[in-house]
């Protein structure tokens, strides 16, 4: 705590709590993402476990005050190990009526709702679709349900900055820091990290020390307001979490994805060639990688999705680690290219940061509905390895894993992230780089046929992979193509037996990956009434629901698949040990179909497509319904 802020003028009780979920919301121009991010940093640096979820508005610059221009940022910080940004919001900060209107229903009964009272006027009610005569702050029902705290933030911010020498607009831009100051007081978090950021960002980077000073002033004013205004009967305190010892940083899924692939390239002693076309919510991977040229990264912003996958395949053929990235609509466009990579048997990794579909759908919202496309969405029998990170920091590990598999089995690997983990953040225990196994790659330099010719499709008996001979190697000149290959020689072949064999071999090769992928772990008892089986970004929610169910005395375990093709070898064994298999997914039941078809198990789905993560409480309730409790 900085010395500026630690002299309490009045005594307020401090109540210890395990975890708090706060949501900041307001107009897209109100700086809510920044505010939430700064509070997250503060909590993380303090030593809390954190999980965040930014809820971006559908439109970049929607008219001010409208509901579709609302930007939200939720953070849960805790003294215990947490896996999600939280279900019910304990405290909401609403900078305008539109934010209030679209977020109030997520606040827990009795929860704190801090509003910028100055924005609650007739004009703004109209903009967000309230009756002009209705002021929600005066609604008895709402006041009974929540602790609504009215703060005239606009006026107070202006008053605190009367001598800042800035225009009214710039002064008003500091309101978010005023709000952050109040929240920091309420949850007893220090201001130092935020002050440091404001100094660095506005003061040094943007060379606007007056803006930094004004923001800092507003922040402190908000903090002192909390202290003196007697609006809050208690303060809350969330103790440090007992995380595994080590050095941490906060990381989002997209950042971890980019860093994971850079690390994979370094571990493989290769250049990373990233070919991509801008698309929400995957573009951040392109932005991050394009800044990392010094780390052996070449990025290519292609003219379209198809060009991006094809350029990546070209780069792979020429011997570098090739990556392309997109979201669902782009994965559809890349299908033919991925099929070619299956045929050429070259390593390729395809990132799909899934979003809500079909078609353009809801680009800023999350979904898990590309699984079947990843598994089967290509012409002919064209199996790919499919992996799915389960949390923001897991993106790092699974990225390395994706390339390890792609080069070992000489095939495309599809990496299914989603908008929820891509934009969400959590603490990341920084890995020991030396402890990460190198990715072994061998490019032959000698022919592999006794007669002195080169057989590009002669396979390694262990992995069934063909040799990755690259252009520039003398004596190994060969032609690859999309036409069916004769075994060994790779010459074009229409022979029926050969085709049958080649289709089977390509499929068998992908299944071979099960030899080295880790076995599925069960959380909770190894057998019992029900297993909640998930994949991808739902890990945190399903795990928390499972923990709650067990705490309540139910025989429910959880397991989460990071490998979707092939499955871990022990999956059928795990499935066989539970009476009911329940598969929660943010789709209409895609993993469910695969599990039912593969293992003839009468698994049951819990399915929702709201563009959002499940609520833990809903999962708990639906699970209880299914198991009949």
């Amino acid at each position: 705590m900085s010395t500026d802020t630690d002299t309490a003028h009045r005594h307020v009780d401090t109540k210890p709590v395990d975890a708090v979920a706060i949501r900041f919301c307001g107009d897209s121009g109100d700086g809510m993402q920044l505010t939430g991010g700064l509070f997250t940093n503060t909590a993380a640096l303090f030593g809390n476990d954190i999980a965040t979820y930014p809820d971006f508005p559908a439109e970049i610059r929607a008219p001010r005050g409208t509901t579709f221009g609302v930007s939200g940022f939720q953070v849960q910080f805790a003294s215990t190990d947490i896996f999600t940004p939280g279900d019910a919001v304990n405290a909401l900060v609403a900078m305008n009526p539109a934010g209030f209107k679209t977020n109030i229903m997520d606040v827990e009964p009795g929860g704190i709702v801090i509003v910028n009272e100055d924005e609650f006027n007739k004009a703004n009610f109209k903009k967000c679709g309230y009756e002009a005569s209705y002021d929600p702050l005066d609604d008895d029902e709402l006041n009974r349900r929540y602790q609504i705290v009215r703060v005239p933030m606009t006026r107070l911010t202006r008053e605190s900055l009367t001598d800042a020498g800035m225009g009214a607009k710039d002064v008003d831009r500091c309101r978010n820091m005023y709000a952050l100051g109040i929240v920091c007081w309420l949850y007893d978090r220090p201001l130092d990290p935020t002050i440091r950021f404001l100094d660095n960002f506005f003061g040094k980077k943007k060379d606007k020390p007056e803006v930094a000073a004004a923001n800092i002033k507003a922040l402190k004013a908000g903090f002192f307001f909390g202290e003196t205004a007697e609006l809050f009967p208690v303060r809350y305190q969330v103790a440090r979490a007992r995380l595994n010892p080590g050095k941490y940083r906060k990381i989002s899924g997209n950042e971890a994805t980019a860093l994971g692939f850079v690390t994979a390239a370094a571990k493989a002693n290769k250049q990373l060639v990233y070919a991509s076309y801008p698309i929400t919510p995957a573009s951040e991977v392109l932005h991050t990688l394009s800044r990392l040229k010094r780390y052996g990264v070449t990025t290519f912003q292609a003219e379209d999705e198809i060009s991006a996958v094809c350029a990546a395949i070209g780069a792979s053929f020429a011997g570098q680690l090739a990556l392309t990235g997109t979201s669902g609509p782009g994965l559809a466009l890349k299908g033919e290219g991925i099929g070619l990579a299956v045929m050429l048997e070259v390593p390729l990794v395809v990132i799909d940061v899934q979003r809500a579909g079909p078609s353009t759908g809801m680009p800023t919202k999350t979904e898990q509905a590309d699984l079947l496309m990843a598994l089967w969405g290509r012409p002919g029998e064209s199996p790919c390895i499919v992996v799915a990170p389960r949390s923001p920091s897991d993106c790092f590990d699974m990225a390395i894993e994706a390339f390890r598999l792609a080069v070992r089995y000489m095939c495309p690997v599809i990496y299914l992230s989603d908008g929820y983990i891509a934009n969400g953040a959590e603490p990341w225990l920084l890995p020991d780089l030396d402890a990460i196994e190198p990715i072994q790659i061998e490019h032959p330099s000698e022919t592999n046929n006794p007669d002195g010719t080169f057989l590009p499709y002669k396979r390694d008996p262990e992995t069934l992979a063909r040799p990755w001979a690259i252009p520039g190697t003398e004596g190994l000149e060969h032609r690859l193509g999309g036409l069916e290959k004769e075994a060994d020689t790779g010459n074009v072949s229409y022979d029926p037996e050969n085709h049958d064999q080649m289709v089977r071999t390509r499929a068998a090769k992908v299944l071979k990956a099960a030899d080295i992928i880790p076995l599925l772990e069960v959380r909770g008892p190894e057998s019992g009434d029900a297993l909640l089986l998930g994949w991808g970004g739902t890990y945190g929610t399903i795990t928390t629901a499972g923990d709650e169910l067990r705490e309540a005395g139910h025989s429910v375990s959880t397991a989460h698949l990071q490998y979707l093709n092939p499955f871990p070898k022990n999956l059928p064994d795990v499935l066989g040990r539970f009476k009911t298999i329940i598969i929660p997914e943010i789709n209409l039941g895609q993993l469910l179909k695969v599990i039912r078809a593969e293992y003839l198990i009468d698994a049951v789905g819990i399915n929702e497509m709201r563009g959002k993560m499940f609520r833990i409480a809903d999962l708990v309730e639906k699970t209880l319904q299914i198991i009949g409790r």
Partner: protein, 340 residues
């Protein structure tokens, strides 16, 4: 990488053992031969060549070249070629494909590769028809052309590949014809020497579905009057008796007869570096005008895409040093959780 001396290659060193499967009499044979004759003269090692193609009759080309080769998918060859150059700029990448592949399904990629000036050579084997799918009209087929898919005539106006290339910012634009192997070799050697995207349209006869489409330009009797050989710095003369030429008339080109007060010095001189002139030349079409053959445009002013990309990487490393992965991961605010 290679410490041994450059071997002396013969054309047959570039031929594979695969049976060539084009129809007898197809123009592609002559073009294949010209390429196989040209490569040994270029002073490069065989293993550094990569032939890339899309789909179509012409796209079978890589199978017949004993180099590295990639027979890719329909229309996307320019994207594969770009990726290869990004991964290894030292490779010499040749893209051979047809008019449907490069101008229809792959038109987008062709155009963007040209504007980026990726350092590759593109050979467009233009036969103005879809051969492999058995005779539908292509983007270069004439308006009104009757084909299997246009029984009463094509309603599309054709694309002019070379005008398109000039408009797309291509830095080397040329035209040749399948029956003239010597001319092909000359043009290809120049294309190979060009740094940046070279685009060579080759008039190619599809013996089966569009026979004789280029006969006006290929036959001894009609060729001199229907085509004009461009030579840098030389006056634009054509005709069986070299008695005709091209002159500027206001803002347009016109055909003039030599004599009657018109001499060679009144004719337009070819300037390969003049983009405006190049566009005008690509617009000339028979029978109103002779169609130009040879190097229409060649500019070395623009850096290649692959060079710029790799230069950016080099400069980033020069400025801040090679990236330290450990530092990168530990960037930003970090905190330590102590063992307790």
């Amino acid at each position: 990488m290679h410490d041994t001396q450059l071997p002396t290659y013969k054309p047959k060193d570039f031929a594979t053992d695969q049976d060539v499967r084009w129809c007898p009499g197809c123009g592609d044979y002559a073009i294949l031969k010209a390429v196989q004759k040209t490569l040994p003269t270029l002073g490069r090692r065989k293993e550094d060549y990569v032939f890339v193609s899309g789909i179509g009759c012409a796209a079978r080309f890589p199978y017949y070249m004993d180099t590295y080769g990639l027979h890719s998918i329909h229309g996307r060859a320019p994207a594969f070629a770009t990726g290869i150059k990004l991964a290894n700029p030292a490779l010499d990448v040749w893209l051979v494909s047809g008019d449907g592949d490069l101008l229809s399904i792959g038109g987008n990629h062709t155009m963007h590769t040209m504007r980026r000036n990726v350092d590759i050579n593109i050979l467009l084997l233009n036969n103005r028809i879809y051969g492999l799918t058995k005779g539908q009209y292509s983007p270069t087929s004439e308006f009104g052309k009757k084909t299997k898919s246009t029984p009463v005539g094509s309603p599309d106006y054709p694309v002019n590949p070379l005008s398109w290339a000039i408009g797309g910012g291509c830095t080397f634009v040329a035209r040749s014809i399948d029956i003239d192997v010597l001319h092909l070799e000359k043009v290809m050697a120049r294309a190979a020497a060009h740094r940046g995207t070279s685009f060579v349209e080759v008039y190619q006869d599809c013996n089966i579905y569009n026979h004789q489409t280029w006969f006006y330009a290929s036959q001894k009797k009609t060729r001199p009057d229907s085509t004009i050989q461009l030579e840098p710095g030389k006056p634009m003369i054509f005709g069986a008796d070299s008695d005709k030429g091209l002159q500027m008339d206001g803002t347009r080109l016109k055909v003039v007869e030599l004599g009657n007060g018109v001499s060679e010095s009144d004719l337009l001189l070819h300037d390969e570096t003049d983009r405006g002139l190049a566009f005008m030349l690509t617009q000339l079409s028979f029978p109103e005008f002779p169609e130009p053959l040879g190097i229409i445009y060649a500019s070395t002013e623009q850096e290649t895409y692959d060079h710029v990309v790799h230069e950016q990487i080099r400069q980033a490393i020069e400025m801040d040093g090679k990236g330290d992965l450990h530092k990168l991961l530990h960037e930003g605010e970090t905190w330590v959780v102590e063992d307790d």
